[in-house]
Symmetry: C2
């Protein structure tokens, strides 16, 4: 009979398990601290204290406030801005535009957006985390365009990035630059112009 | 013979006169102070000292740092982003996009843009000055679209704001939000999508 050394099973990360509770508390505390205290006051110490978890746990798992903020952004936006799949390009883009506008103007979303706009030039780690965030989001949202191409609503070769930028950029332009209001009619107009823009492409 | 009371002639503001020299020094000092010291350190006192003019002169003429900043923005952007009139909508929009991108990424331009993005929610005077800036710029730049309609390049009823937002928004989206590079090919793509977007409109 072969001798067997008992081995400790790998830690199980069940939803609802301790690890998952720590993560949820840390991500939520990160956005709450940023929203209330701004980026300059954001630290793993303060996040740990607000989340009621050990500071060393955050250091071991995320290392920096920027890494934790990236995961908080992905989680927050992932829950609030699902990738629509209605069977219609226009409806999918409208759903995306509405959810993106609602999220970017919600307190935590706006705090993140304005922090990045104000601080990214002086904080390479923040800028890198933000670029990864947008790469992941554009990759997810590209499915909207790819499915529209499969359905024959858009031509083969349509660049998802062109469509997504045309839909999202005017929302952030009004929020951060001109201060003009972001209403439903504006979002519909932006979506229609984006679709006609790439549809006019040969 | 009617008796005439000698009246003092109104002050003449010649280009190159004292008033115009004070204005030029104040506007340039405003942007230099903002670029180097940030918005929190910007004050009429510091601007006066840098410009070598009397503080009370600035107070009497502009009243607030936000009013002075608005005039500095209009002057700076007015000199760097002229409204193109080449006889071609695409060339006009390309000229606008290139000048806007160059200005928004120049040190003083970027300082203004990031200040507004970061501070406008907390500073109603700054937000109002910024809205006036964009109203004036959109009004000026609308001429590009109106001339294209007169030439028959765009349909009657085309909204200048739709075209201008479609061209400008992606530039600021990359600068402030995604951090993606703003290259010539991107600017051309943005202009072409904007034109096709409104051209597809019935």
């Amino acid at each position: 009979m072969a001798s067997t050394t008992p081995r400790r099973p790998p830690p199980v990360r069940r939803p609802g398990g301790r690890s998952s509770r720590v993560r949820a508390a840390a991500l939520s505390a990160t956005l709450a601290e940023l929203t209330e205290g701004g980026y300059s006051g954001l630290s793993l110490e303060r996040i740990a204290s607000r989340a009621g978890v050990n500071k060393t746990t955050l250091y071991r798992r995320w290392g920096t406030r920027q890494a934790l903020l990236l995961e908080a952004m992905l989680d927050y936006v992932g829950r609030r801005v699902p990738v629509p799949d209605t069977g219609s390009l226009r409806e999918d883009l409208l759903g995306l535009a509405r959810a993106a506008a609602a999220t970017a103007t919600a307190p935590a979303g706006e705090a993140v957006v304005r922090t990045v706009a104000g601080e990214a030039p002086w904080d390479e780690e923040l800028a890198a985390a933000n670029r990864r965030f947008w790469m992941e989001r554009f990759e997810l949202d590209s499915a909207i365009v790819e499915r529209a191409v499969e359905r024959g609503e858009l031509q083969t070769g349509t660049q998802p990035g062109d469509v997504l930028e045309a839909v999202l950029a005017p929302i952030y332009f009004r929020l951060l630059v001109t201060g003009e209001p972001i209403e439903q009619r504006f979002l519909e107009r932006v979506v229609d112009l984006a679709i006609m823009g790439v549809a006019g492409d040969e």
